[in-house]
Symmetry: C2
Subunit: 331 residues, 2 copies
């Protein structure tokens, strides 16, 4: 916890509440982070007894102290806390959507005596000719990025790598469409539960192997780029055969797996980005810095230089959401 900077007046309590963790921010004017707290209290990891009480307890734990000190602060949240398994289900808004649409369709829940929590909805994209897609939390990150760099409102492609990576296209200030890729989750389960993990060493590899591991990652990106339709589950088996035949050191097999999956995501995401309406849109990475660096390396291998690489933009996005919901009246 960063101790509150009492020289600035707090204006908002903002919660980024996902599946596995809960991050709380005390924000001052201009969305300046005055203090922050984090707890392993994602919606699937609530303190006993779970349910409403679990949410209340987790909320009191991260934000109770701030609200005791500044009882009139507005409180907002985004992420899985608004899902069917969350505190209060907040139905998806549909693309095209902007932060105003999020604010107008927010739900409210009594989080503590005299404290109302505003929950931002997720977003649904329904292309009509293909299955729908959904996000919860990334729309807030994107709203934050748009505050950070207003020029991206005109046109941008946001890439949020992770368990379920999102590629999202913004035009004229609205989120037009997006696609989810299960890159991170397939990587994790293939490594932990499939035959592909068997040849991988458990220990962290030595830093002296970094060049070898980078080469394996790059080779897999090239294989993904050259792949023919339908080939991914065939290419994945190479993680085993390259190990079995000693063509890749075992310490580099996880990098090859990662390169294949990220590479396939890029093949599809970049092809979508090149379509008529979004061609030439700057590509902006948002997320955990090490993972974003991996994606930036992959994009560059595909001949694309990302316009920016941003760490967590949720505080700024939640600020924009609160502003759109008219919660930030002058102090």
């Amino acid at each position: 916890m960063i101790e509150p900077d009492v020289s600035a007046a707090p204006r908002l309590v903002a919660l980024d509440w996902g599946t596995s963790s809960l991050r709380a921010f005390l924000l001052g004017d201009g969305a300046r982070v005055l203090a922050q707290r984090q707890a392993d209290c994602g919606i699937l990891r609530l303190p006993a007894p779970g349910g409403r009480e679990g949410f209340e307890r987790a909320f009191a734990d991260v934000a109770g102290g701030w609200l005791a000190q500044w009882p009139r602060l507005p409180v907002v949240a985004g992420g899985m806390v608004g899902s069917a398994q969350g505190w209060r289900e907040t139905p998806y808004v549909r693309c095209p959507a902007d932060v105003g649409a999020l604010a107008s369709q927010a739900t409210r829940v009594a989080a503590a005596p005299n404290v109302e929590l505003w929950i931002a909805p997720g977003v649904l994209f329904d292309p009509g000719d293909a299955p729908p897609d959904v996000m919860r939390g990334e729309e807030i990150q994107i709203a934050g990025a748009l505050v950070k760099q207003p020029a991206w409102n005109t046109r941008a492609c946001f890439v949020l790598p992770g368990t379920h990576s999102k590629w999202a296209w913004v035009e004229s200030g609205r989120l037009l469409r997006f696609s989810t890729y299960m890159t991170g989750e397939i990587y994790a389960i293939a490594r932990q539960h499939s035959i592909l993990g068997r040849l991988m060493p458990q220990a962290d590899p030595s830093p002296s192997l970094d060049a070898t591991r980078d080469a394996a990652f790059d080779a897999a990106l090239d294989a993904a780029r050259a792949s023919r339709p339908g080939e991914l589950t065939h290419q994945l088996f190479a993680v085993r055969t390259l190990g079995l035949t000693d063509r890749l050191p075992r310490e580099a097999l996880a990098d090859y797996l990662s390169g294949l999956l990220i590479g396939h995501e890029l093949v599809s995401g970049l092809a979508q980005s090149a379509n008529a309406r979004t061609a030439g849109a700057p590509i902006v990475l948002i997320g955990e810095p090490a993972l974003c660096r991996r994606y930036a390396r992959a994009l560059q291998r595909f001949g694309v230089v990302p316009a920016a690489q941003l760490d967590n933009t949720a505080p700024l996005g939640l600020w924009a959401f609160a502003q759109a919901a008219d919660l930030l009246t002058a102090a």
Copy 2:
């Protein structure tokens, strides 16, 4: 166990020894199955204490009785028993390969006093411009299919669905090349360990849902066929969104997942099969009947009618292997 048909003279003990199970066949002239036994003693499920003793014990358990009665019978085995984790590592032979190559590079191990077990090698395909591929066991199934229908020696495409599906192309009696697809394993781990399984009911669906489930399988095949490069991990997420938005009944989500993965396998396998040397080769399914029926339905959706659908051809393949190894001298 089928009791031996004592009216026919046994000629060979043949073992199909895989990762999870061990199937033993007592064969008479013309590879006629006189008796068979099965044990859950795959190479990763050996009776204690494992290692050589585990193999010996499993062997004695399934074949000891037969060999006590007919002590001079030759004994052969194919499958993972020849892998690095098997009883005796039997290095891969390289494509192009036929049953003569398997026989000439077999290894032998003392399986019991005065009993020598001949182990067939697996096959390695090294395309040079892509990672190598491997099989162990399927080459025996294919050898068996070629005995069953000698016309396929000229040209055929064998499809062996399963955990690691194989597509294998035979020309002029030799296995030219093959590709593995991790279809069955990705299906299993996505269902058991990923978010995609969460919405799927645990209980077996009612038979009254069969038409709905078939429709979901077919819709996923169509989606796979229409997919753009790199799109699989995006399409997989639809298993969740179609459930979340109630566009597919939850009982049909596993069928949609299966259709996507089998569909992608078919897109790639059929494209390979259409290449210059193998275009028009008959497609022959080998394997577990219910799974082969699922693949036959999928192939037909893609406009391809399989030439045949065969159940386990390992006994016939092991017979051909023993014959090529010159173990079947006249009685």
